[in-house]
Every structure is written in structure tokens, then in C-alpha cells.
């Protein structure tokens, strides 16, 4: 699916560094946190001008898509760098839902170089690459072994009926990738936004920088994606990729929240001293730095593994477990160390905490991620018995 990563783990190249610098510069200029807040308060989904520019001038949407689909053939690692940078500034546009959640399913379902031309990947991925199409992934919930739990069911004619209660960007995306139960088990389907029987109900979101909707399907015409019978594999592969990208976003958020808090501790005075000179403050910040370093290692170790391998799947689940918990704790600590100002609407600290909680639910909880490690770790124990009663 993605180009193979050749350098050994953590062997950053000049290209990686250059990419990070470019993305950081563009975002600092066009999408600082203040801009995310401005858009959220105005009730805007995103900045469409920036979206086009990211596609046309920086080439981010197509960065890791194959060249035959109008992309630049980059690696998942390249994409992780981009998403981490977006996470730092709480960028909330369609990038993660489109490139991080929906496109991996299209890619995983695609036959690859040797596959038939003219399939859904060939139809939609070039439009994602050029910025003209946004997409969302609709899943009702994730089950104990990482499989989608679906109430949406496909009938013989491929029409879907069911509900996905929370779909990131689901109310606005141009295309829906829906995990549903087909004749051969869970499988991805594509639903066009004008399709009959599709209802998209906008929801209020905890993460102010992102929008979400409830998706209801009632005999909605859909198109099966990929080979029949491979659906579960496709969804699992895509989900591992998405886990790495969500982890990278969490690393970005965590890094920014830690920097923000360290900066405050270096400047705010109480009792005639900088608060950063109190050990209660220093030590909490030191723990934040430890979590950030560890989370960074987890996300990028996973990004460096070869997609589709068992090592990749395990590393992705490890990253999702660690980064999900770590970002939440850092979000809490950031507010704590800011005191009263940290509890205000105007301060950015709560935006990070909101993002931390929301990201943690995107692909199933950290506890669920840990349960997903079990089949490979303890092959004799059936997955089902290990995870009963774990909330998503």
C-alpha cells in the first residue's frame, strides 16, 4: 500500500527533516492554534483555501499515495511527520478523516500495481490527492479483536441499513467509507453523499476543532470495496495504519502542550520565584517530558515497520495504547500547571485536553488496543474471552 521504508528505525534523513520544516512553516503561517480556535468559534469546518493550497502547492494530501493515483509515492513515515505537525497546532480540517482514516481503507482494498484498473481507488484517490474530495470513515464501534462492530448490514443488492453513531467529519465529507456486515463478514463499502436513505445528523463535539455527525443508513445504495471475503483483513490493515497516524497526532498535541506548560513555568512567578522552580511543578513537567519522549518513540517505531506485517500491527496497537493514555494525562497536567488561567475558555490548554479525549476514542480505547495485542502475544488464548466487557 504505502512505499516501503528503507532506513533503519529512527534513522532520519534530510528529506524527513525538510518535510517537517516545510509543514511546520506552512502551518505556523496559515493554521496556528489561534486559527483553529477562530474557525471553531465561527462554526466553520475548515479553511478551504488552505486545503487547496496544501494539495496544490505543498502536495500533502497525495504525499503518501501511489504515483499512479496522482500521489507522490511517499511512506507512512512521511505522513506521520505531517500529521504530528498538524497535531501540534490542533489542525482540525479534513486531513485526518480523509487521508488518515478513509484513504487507508481504499488503499488496503486496492489490488496494487497488478490489480485491475478503474476500481474505486483509481476513481477516488486521485481526487483526494488533488484536494477535490474529502472522505470520512463510518464504523459503529470496534470489537474486542479490533474488528468493526456493525449494525449496518448489506442486503443482497448491496444496500446498507444501520447507524454509525459518531463519524468524524461525517456530516461534511464528500464520500463515506462504511464498515458494514456483508455476506462474507465485515467489509468496507462506499456510500455517496447524495445516496437515498442516508441521513447525516450533525453533533456537538468535545473537540471544538473537529466536526462529527451521526450517520443513518436505510436501504442506502452502496458499493462494495475490494475482494469479497477480504473485508476483515482490509479493515484491520487500514486500522493499523490509522492507529499510527492518530498516535502521531497525539504526539504532536502532547509536545505542544508540554512546551506550552514548560514555557509558562519558566515565566510565571509566585512567592517571589518562578513556579518552575517548585519541585511539585518541575517533577510533574519532567513526567510530561518522559511521556512525550516515550510516545514519540512508540508512534515512530510503528511508522518505521513495514505495513501489513504482524510486527506492524503489534507496534500500531502499542502506539495507540501508549499515546492515547499519555496525551490525556498530559492534557490534564497542562491545565493543572497553568492554574486558573488554564481553566478559562480563552486559554488553549483545554483545546488540547479536548483533542486528547476525542483522539483516544477514534479507533477504540487504549484498553481495547491492549486487548488487540493478545492474539499474537498469547496465541493459545482465544481473543473473545480476553476482552469481554471492555467499553470502546
Amino acid at each position: 500500500m504505502y512505499a516501503e521504508q528503507r532506513e533503519p528505525e529512527f534513522g532520519w534523513t534530510d528529506e524527513h527533516r525538510g518535510l517537517r520544516e516545510t509543514v511546520r512553516r506552512v502551518l505556523a503561517d496559515r493554521a496556528p492554534v489561534a486559527r483553529a480556535r477562530e474557525l471553531a468559534e465561527a462554526g466553520e469546518r475548515h479553511d478551504p483555501a488552505l486545503w487547496s493550497e496544501l494539495a496544490e502547492q505543498v502536495g500533502l494530501q497525495g504525499l503518501a499515495l501511489p504515483e499512479r493515483y496522482g500521489g507522490f509515492g511517499g511512506t507512512l513515515l512521511d505522513l506521520a511527520i505531517v500529521v504530528e505537525e498538524m497535531g501540534r497546532v490542533l489542525y482540525g480540517g479534513p486531513f485526518l478523516p480523509t487521508v488518515g482514516l478513509a484513504a487507508p481503507v481504499l488503499l488496503a482494498a486496492d489490488g496494487g500495481e497488478d490489480g485491475p484498473d478503474g476500481g474505486p481507488a483509481a476513481e477516488y484517490l486521485p481526487r483526494i490527492a488533488d484536494g477535490s474530495l474529502t472522505a470520512a470513515l463510518a464504523v459503529e464501534a470496534w470489537g474486542p479483536a479490533g474488528e468493526p462492530v456493525v449494525t449496518a448490514t448489506a442486503d443482497a443488492a448491496g444496500r446498507l441499513t444501520g447507524t454509525a453513531p459518531v463519524v468524524l467529519d461525517g456530516g461534511d465529507a464528500d464520500l463515506l467509507v462504511v464498515a458494514a456486515r456483508g455476506p462474507d463478514g465485515p467489509a468496507p463499502y462506499l456510500v455517496e453523499t447524495g445516496a437515498a436513505g442516508l441521513t447525516r445528523t450533525p453533533l456537538e463535539t468535545l473537540d471544538l476543532t473537529r466536526r462529527a455527525a451521526r450517520i443513518t443508513l436505510d436501504g442506502t445504495p452502496a458499493r462494495a470495496l475490494g475482494d469479497p471475503g477480504r473485508g476483515a483483513v482490509v479493515l484491520a490493515r487500514a486500522r493499523a495504519v490509522s492507529s499510527v497516524l492518530v498516535s502521531a497526532e497525539q504526539v504532536g498535541g502532547m509536545t505542544a502542550a508540554t512546551d506550552l506548560t514548560a514555557e509558562y513555568a519558566r515565566t510565571r512567578r509566585q512567592f517571589g520565584r518562578l513556579i518552575g522552580s517548585f519541585q511539585g511543578v518541575k517533577h510533574r513537567l519532567a513526567d510530561m517530558a518522559v511521556r512525550q519522549e516515550m510516545a514519540h518513540s512508540a508512534a515512530y517505531w510503528a511508522a518505521w515497520q513495514e505495513p501489513g506485517t504482524p510486527e506492524f500491527a503489534q507496534a500500531a496497537a502499542i502506539a495507540r495504547s501508549y499515546c492515547g493514555d499519555a496525551f490525556l494525562q498530559t492534557g490534564l497536567d497542562a491545565i493543572q500547571l497553568h492554574g486558573g488561567i488554564g481553566f478559562t475558555w480563552e486559554h488553549d490548554a483545554h483545546l488540547y485536553l479536548r483533542r486528547a479525549r476525542a483522539d483516544r476514542a477514534l479507533l477504540g480505547s487504549p484498553q481495547l488496543a491492549r486487548a488487540e495485542l493478545v492474539p499474537a502475544l498469547v496465541p493459545t488464548v482465544p481473543a473473545r474471552s480476553t476482552t469481554e466487557g471492555i467499553p470502546a
Binding site: 528505525e9 529512527f10 516515550m294 515512530y300 517505531w301 495504547s321 491492549r370 493478545v374 498469547v378 480476553t386
Partner: protein, 421 residues
Amino acid sequence: MTVTEPGTEPVTERVTLAAGASDAEIIAAVEAWLRAHLPEDWQAAVARGDLAAVEAIREDPERGPAWFDLLGDSGLATPTWPVEHGGLGLPADRGAVVTETLARYRAERHNRDFVGLVLAGHTILEWGSPEQKAERLPALRRGREFWCQLFSEPGAGSDLAGLSTRAVQQADGTWLVNGQKVWNSYAHLADFGLLMARTDPSAPKHRGITYFLLDMRTPGVEPRPLKQMTGNAEFNETFLTDVVVPDSARIGPVNQGWSVAITTLMQERNGLSGRPAVGPGEADELVARAVGNGSWEDPVLRDRLLEAYVEEKVLQMTTVRSFVASGDAAPTAEGSIRKLAHSVLAEKLGVLGTDLEADGAVAWDPAEGSEAADRFLAMKTYSIAGGTSEIQRNIIAERVLGLPKDPDPERHLPFNERGRG
């Protein structure tokens, strides 16, 4: 290529590995060397997973040292040391691949050699005189000398620079050392000790210390084993009474011992977070144990185990990352991040290990012992030895995050005027 150092006849050719060799190339070269040199019964024991048999060879008074001579002269025991000192001149992450490969054959140096091989080795490489390098490094490479660390004192632990053991230079240039050290692991078995002593009491505490490589057989050096909470007696209090130390044993300039100590301490923190490889660890062992005794069926315990497993893996990844990032550079304050994470994890694993046992590892058959209890009792080592977790948090906050230093009213006072305010 072979090197000739005074007093040593190399017992084998040095292995050559390129600094840019890939993991696969290094592993292949080391394995080929091991297949050619590792005793056959050792290889066979590794192949059938008989670790007790391997341990017996490693600890054999004849065969153990013979193996470590060979390993030392091959350069594989010290892959990151410069070539002229018998190393392979590899960057940290490449050297780690060598050590990992050795470890898979249980052919790597003993853990108890850490103070010698890593702390003394790097300190001498960085600060030693040509004579000290020539005299000490060959034996360190081969594991022929056993080392201990004589830093802590009853009155100076976290505040190590506050140490008061005195060294006074005599008319003939030798130093007369008097004082008491404490918590010195294996000092009763050691040939040499890394010693810091006060040489200028009228200077502020960090600026009046000198560092020595002490021959533990010198008259007046008296280690007395102290029984630890584990029941073992591995660390000591060490009395130093009118110990005459030649000036040739001084390492680094007079009164600049603190700078030398920084090298030692950084290496120590860096080395205390586990080896740089992602693979089976202690959590994997606990998972296997839990599955074996049925405690895995408890969903709460299972999630705690998985949480520790995730943390251990992420720490391993972080260690790999720091080795790759550091290359040839000396370790930095970031080593404190891993040391802290490791001590937090060690405690989790120590407690979990006892929770897996039906009886909580509170009683056991004397003939069998209890590994869970042993580990439980040893786990607090990591958050105290090598600088406590509080001190690591201070270091991270100050050096990594740039927060203000803790107030230390005595820092700039002459050492002998402290405590008078």
C-alpha cells in the same frame, strides 16, 4: 589486525566491522565469529535452550576467563571503543547490535562488569593518561579486573558533590586518603575502585574534588559488606584509613574531579534503562507466567500486565532511538528520561510479579525459593541507585526543559564554610 599492548599477547585476531554496516551485516559477521570461536558445548547448550549449562561455563574459573579474553581481544566486548584501544570504533547504535547478537548466545560480558566495562572504561577513555589507558583498558576489555564505584558517603548521596573523604598530597607527590564511602556494590570483591575525594576544602564543593583510580588492595582500604533488604550482602561500607595513593592513579586534573564524574554519571544513567533492542523482556516473562498459572483469566490483572508490556516495549523503542540519535556523541541528560521510565516500570513489574502468584509470593518452599519475591525485593534498586528518581526529575526539568535549578545555598560557599549560616 592485532594490537600489542604491554603485558598482553592477543589471543585472537580483531574482528573488523564498518561503521556504516547494516544490522544484518553486523549480525552475520558476529554470528560467523561466534560459530568459529564459541566452545561447541556452549553453542549446543544455547541451541537446546539450556541456560544453566551456559551459566556453568561462563562461571567456570578456567573457561569463563578464557572466553572473555578471546572476546576482549576480538574487540566485540567493546565495540564502541576506539580501534587504537582494542575496540571496533563503531557508533553507539551499531555497537548495540553487536552486544545484542552476543547476548543471544549468552556470550556477552557479565552484568556485574558494568562498573568496569562501561563506567571505568568510558571514564578512562575520556580522561585517562596514556599510561592509565595502556595499563587499565586491556584488562577491562578482557574482564580481567573487577571494578566498584566509591562515590556515595554517609553525608553525601544525592548531594554527591558534598562528599568529605579527604585526599591530601604529600611531599613525595602521593596522596593520603581518609574517609568513609557507603553503598558500594561489590567493593568487597573489586580490584579497583572509582574514587572521588576532597582535595581543596576551601573551594566551593564542586571545585575541590579530585578523582582517582584506586587499587582496592592498597593498605587501609577496608570494605565491609552490608546486608541489603533482599537479604544479600552485595553493597558495602568502605573505610579508607591513611590510604597512600600514587599521583599516577589520579585521573583528570587536580580539583576537577567533578567534571570527570559527570562522564561516569552520564554513562551510568544511560546504561541503567536496559539494552537498546526491541524484543522479549520481563513483561513477556510475566505474561507467560500468568498464562501458565491461570491468573491471566483475571481481566483486571490482564490489563495491568498488558499495560506494563506496552510500557516496556515503548521504553525499549526509546532506548533504540537514543542510541541511533547519539551516534558517537556522549550521552546527555536525556539518559535521565530513560532511567526514570525504567525505575517506574521496574516497580510496576515487581509488584505485578507477586500479584500473579496465588499466594502473593508471601511464602514459599525453601528448596524452591521465589523468583517473584526476589524481584519484588530488588525492584527499589532502580529508583535509588545511580541517582534517585527525584534527582532524575530535577535533571530532566532543568537540563531538558530549561526550568530553574533547585536552590542550593551552599553551592558557591567554600566547602569548609558550609552549614554555618
